[in-house]
Amino acid sequence: MIGIRQRILPQPGFSLVLWIIWILAHESLAPDTLLIGAGAALFLPALTHHFWPEALRVRRWGKLIKFLLIFVYDIIVANIQVAQLVLGPSEKLRPAFLEVPITLTNPLVISILSAVISLAPGTVAANLSGDRRTLLVHILHTEDTEGSIERIKERYEAPLKEIFQ
């Protein structure tokens, strides 16, 4: 039996985010905006929650905030590095495919990891193996393949694992 809370509010966090996005999109706090937004925020998750594999629970909020700050810093550094690489002589670039072994199991966390990798310095997630154990990552420039794999595991996979699993 599904509880009444499960039926009406399967994903409270998702509903809240939808509501905030609705209010931001209308740039107003008028009662009608708030009401219609609340309606959409309740209706959409109830309609789509069958598509979600399982709810994701944040275990350590402090770590999440720290991770986000590191991530924003990394994005800025990534942009400057990639800009330098693009402006420099392109013959010197050593692109490579990295096979990163991953120990995360939740499919949603794996997609967060690949999104983070794609936004971070000089790397794009290219493919996930059928058994979800290896992530193929393309790197724009590397001199040390093993080191780059270690860096990705340490900097992004380990904190994600602590936050969600």
């Binding site: 096979e99 794609s118 493919n127």
Partner: protein, 108 residues
């Protein structure tokens, strides 16, 4: 006055990074390398343009402008997905990389 200087600086930064992003598409030598540029150089480029826009409209209208936050949010959600799909498509089309080799490590 100070706001105008900040806005101009942000717009210049944004334009520079967007330009480098476009330049990368011309300059880099294989498909896999070119995919990197739109996800990187343009996130900061468009990011600073949007921050400039937020400051400008907040000052001019007197109410906080928040649409730009949504644009950044959607940009950061969609850019990695499209880059990933392009990479995947490239791998399945067996495109040659810069050394003329086809990547065999599909990881499966």
């Amino acid at each position: 006055m100070i706001a105008e200087i900040i806005i101009s600086a942000l717009i210049l930064i944004g334009v520079t990074f967007s330009f480098i992003g476009s330049l990368g598409l011309v300059k880099l030598r294989d498909f896999y390398m070119r995919v990197h540029v739109p996800t990187k150089a343009t996130t900061l480029g468009i990011g600073s343009l949007l921050i400039a826009s937020t400051i400008f409209f907040t000052i001019h209208r007197g109410t906080p402008a928040v649409h730009e936050i949504l644009i950044v949010l959607f940009l950061f959600m969609t850019a990695p997905v499209s880059a990933h799909m392009l990479m995947k498509a490239g791998l399945h089309e067996r495109l040659k990389d810069v050394n003329g080799e086809v990547e065999e490590k599909l990881g499966s």
